[in-house]
């Protein structure tokens, strides 16, 4: 039975990859391509949010680091004239460095206190962008920075990423390699150290693991990818607004959390499933825009009350149920 489950998982990955690669030519629609672009970015945000969960902490400030990444990349292309190939990692580094700086004081507290601090952080970053008129354009937002443009890969070719479809493939490449890195990190020694810290932090420090250091490393890696996601978002929209109702508001951070929890926080695929399913639900309920948050909130509450392990646990549950019905004695 274990075999069929892993087979199902493999099929799931293949279908996901095929669907995401084949979608733009099949849909042949700029609107849906941009929706897919958003979904791909959301998956990266949800998956990197889950990386923080590996050390047992919960962040409600992920959107703040996304905001840092978006503004860094936009300002670097706009004011310094750097190409997108440089500003994308620079945006991630900027978010990661900020995370290191605030990670040291913040990781001294645990649990709900950390959640509160991350909320305060993300709101402060948004308000900074809102009020720092000379740099970020303040309430008017940031308009007119260039898109991805053409990217030259040394010794390979010059690829033009100005179109929607091309940009979608760029996003897909960046996000899938980021997801691969996150996955490998989780399965590496570093990932096991994080899980050890989550399960027994006192024990971990007793056997010589520098708990604070590993927590900060974890936080900064997760925030690095949040910054990358922000840069990808910034150059696809090409406008940034720091309003409370914009994408950098607290609402988005709650959405990321809901993606992660509804999809299932205990497996790597969970947050990605959550991001895809909920983004599609949001897309199809767009005619009832003002009810959208209500629907997402109701789904979140229903899932934590009825299916605490999330959607990703459904195949395993079905498998167990089938095994039981086939062989009731086990």
């Amino acid at each position: 039975m274990q075999n069929s489950l892993s087979l199902m998982k493999g099929f799931g990955w293949i279908i996901l990859a095929a669907a995401s690669i084949a979608a733009p030519p099949l849909l042949a629609n700029i609107y849906w391509t941009s929706v897919m672009n958003m979904i791909v970015i959301n998956s990266l945000m949800a998956a990197s949010l889950r990386t923080i969960f590996l050390i047992g902490e919960f962040s409600l400030g992920h959107v703040g680091f996304m905001c840092i990444g978006a503004y860094s990349s936009a300002l670097l292309t706009m004011k310094a004239g750097l190409p997108f190939g440089i500003t994308l990692p620079a945006a991630g580094l900027m978010a990661g460095l900020t995370a290191i700086l605030i990670g040291y004081p913040f990781m001294r507290v645990k649990g709900i206190y950390f959640v509160i601090l991350t909320v305060v952080t993300s709101e402060s970053f948004r308000l900074l962008a809102y009020n720092w008129r000379s740099l970020t354009g303040g309430t008017d937002g940031l308009i007119g920075f260039p898109g991805a443009g053409s990217l030259s890969i040394p010794g390979f070719a010059q690829i033009d990423f100005t179109g929607f479809t091309e940009y979608y493939y760029l996003t897909l490449t960046v996000v899938s390699s980021s997801l691969f890195i996150l996955y490998r990190l989780e399965k590496s020694n570093l990932g096991f150290t994080w899980i050890t810290i989550r399960e027994a932090d006192k024990m971990a420090s007793a056997v010589g693991i520098n708990v604070l250091k590993y927590k900060v490393i974890n936080f900064s890696i997760a925030c690095f990818f949040a910054g990358v996601g922000g840069a990808l978002l910034a150059h696809s929209e090409q406008t940034l607004s720091p309003q409370a109702s914009s994408v950098f508001g607290v609402m988005t951070t709650i959405y990321f959390l809901v993606y992660m929890v509804v999809g299932g926080k205990s497996s790597f695929i969970g947050p990605i499933v959550g991001a895809i399913v909920l983004s599609f639900i949001m897309e199809f309920t767009r005619p009832m825009q003002e009810y959208q948050p209500m629907i997402i909130g109701a789904i979140a509450i229903a899932v934590v009350m009825l299916l605490p392990e999330g959607l990703a646990s459904i195949p395993a549950k079905i498998d167990k149920w089938r095994a039981k019905s086939l062989n009731p004695l086990t």
């Binding site: 601090l117 709650i254 929890v261 509450i301």
Partner: protein, 289 residues
Amino acid sequence: MDLPVQAVWQGMINGLALGWIYVLMALGLTLIFGIMHIMQFAHGEIYMIGAYVVYYLTASFKLPLVVATALSMVVMATAGLILERFIFRPLKEDWLSAVVATTGLTLILQSGAVVVFGLYERSIPLLAHGPFNIAGIMVPKDRVIAVVVAVVLSLFLYLFLKTTKYGQAMVASAQNPEGAVLQGISPNKMAAMAMAIGCALAAAGGTLAGSLFALSPFMGLPPLVKGMTIIVIGGMGSLPGAFIAGMILGFIDGLVPILLGHAWAAMGPLLLVITILVIKPQGFFGHAE
């Protein structure tokens, strides 16, 4: 820098009023967290709905502001009881699920408010008209009344917790739930009471803010963030810590935009929190964990 004295005074008075509104939020949050160990992320929405209830009572039923506020506090306390029974009580054991449920509740209540109340800015009647003139400095009456109301409510809560039987039971339940159960104090009853009191305080805070400034479905977020910052700075479960931290945050909001600019006012609370965490991670008056 040459600043008019009047502007600085104005900033201080505004800061004081804001600070006390934040304190009302923080008291509710810390009370609920102390008993149930759930951080009520939807508290800002309770604050917002409380203010709207007052708006409708004063605008449609022409009730005087005092009566409307009292009624709104009762209504929100009842709403708090319902939330406690059906959402918070089943999730008390798992703090992660509780965070998701309360943030989901925020989404539901906020979008519900947009649907029901609309996106127009509305306002509650002013608390009072005109300024006091104290030694040549104009002090607006409504700010003073807001501060007085908030101080009186906080004092009531303090006295309730210190002197009455039920208040002492709540303190006991927060300090040692098992011990409290052995003394015949029901944790569920205490949780319901904490929710009711917390929501009533939030409704009062929302009414004060709505009368000083304006109502909108998104007004709950800033005071919620400030209330949570107060808890971190002042220490969880500490009333004096909450008062001091509330004053500091209020003055940051009132004075820093005038003196240093809005960008510093935005970063002020975060920098303050980081400083406190480096020096004293458990907050001014918090207990070591």
